[in-house]
Symmetry: C2
């Protein structure tokens, strides 16, 4: 059996994660009409040193073969140019078709949030095993009973499944999504979900983030770090 890894072939995963956060910051700056930002300013907004911002952007330029791309210059990086480059590198030039599985409190909140338009994804289906629940949810996104996952995922060419089911339903749900040809999962459940043959997994966990925060709080106070940029 082949070993599975979450490491992407070109850009290291921690770099991808930081570039994704960089995208948020740049998008927010662009909305506010900011045209240029230096690595020092970006580092302050992101919460890590300027040299790491420069390193990530230099990897991004190499990856995109854009040696002529937006350099920092003495007035900083061009926000729009960097956003366009990131958009290509992160594969955001077309939206990923997604579905939400499990329409309890969290799943329903995610469904309503996803009715807004984002460059990253479009939710084209919602699923729940409780058909009574489906009737009570008011949304413009088509909803289906969970047993129809394989058929709908295949027909609608859904690439990404957003999992918000109870822990005991994870296994069956993942099998159904795989049967439909799913390629990526966002795991909102409390159960760890390893990547498997052909399927990438990203886990979103309040408890996991709380542990990281707890470690940072235990280690010390950010104001005591001094100037390290």
């Amino acid at each position: 059996m082949k070993k599975i890894t979450n490491t992407p072939p070109s850009l290291p995963l921690p770099t991808l994660e930081r570039l994704s956060a960089l995208y948020s910051v740049l998008e927010s700056a662009a909305t506010s009409g900011v045209a240029r930002l230096s690595s020092r300013e970006l580092g302050r907004l992101l919460g890590y040193p300027a040299h790491l911002v420069r390193k990530d952007i230099s990897l991004l330029l190499k990856y995109g073969n854009s040696h002529e791309g937006p350099g920092e210059g003495h007035r900083g990086y061009a926000v729009e140019g960097l956003l366009a480059l990131l958009s290509r590198a992160l594969g955001l030039t077309s939206k990923r078709r997604a579905c939400i599985v499990g329409l309890g409190r969290l799943g329903t909140a995610l469904l309503h949030y996803s009715e807004e338009s984002f460059p990253e994804y479009e939710v084209v289906a919602g699923f729940d095993s409780n058909t009574n629940r489906l009737e009570l949810i008011s949304t413009r996104i088509p909803l289906y009973p969970a047993f129809r996952i394989p058929e709908v995922v295949m027909r609608e060419e859904i690439e990404v499944g957003i999992l918000a089911v109870p822990p005991e339903a994870v296994e069956t749900t993942v099998e159904r999504l795989k049967a439909g040809g799913i390629r990526g999962l966002i795991n909102f459940t409390s159960r760890p979900l390893p990547p498997s043959e052909g399927v990438w997994v990203r886990t979103i966990s309040l408890r996991a983030e709380m542990r990281v925060l707890s470690a940072l709080l235990t280690a010390g106070n950010p104001s005591q770090k001094g100037d390290i940029t």
Copy 2:
């Protein structure tokens, strides 16, 4: 002005993030009655190479001054021993007191989820600026109008604020939490939130995770990676 950084003094942030995921996997294994796991098995469950698991655990042992700690041995690491060590390193030996601010669909879902007991945190207050909304939520967690944040956070010695407010309310909310002496924030809002003097920030964003997933999907298929462990 001092520069702020999210890098912890001892363990690098990416290591902390992986150790937090390791905790989830070990906790799940312990619940299933699994006593030992090798770095190879842990790597498979976590989705990254075994050598990275070994590196993180070796850093953890150094950090905890536990050179006599649970080594891998030929039957793997002792699950319970490693959990205890992680629990100390991540500062989970006592629960962090937390509050949820913003009780819309997401905030209310988080509130009900947080009524369960976890080793990481205990939610001791919920806040919303809409007092009518507060009356409609049925929970055993005390709820307060948002203007009372500084007073309640101080009195209840709340360390962590979980932000689920609309983007336009972020600034005021963070000011109020800081006035109460908050030390850490979990940012569920769509607005990037830089760490500031004395306050650590962790952002949870479906869109950011969707971008990372999109980059992985663009780069290739996990089944085509071959054996790299």
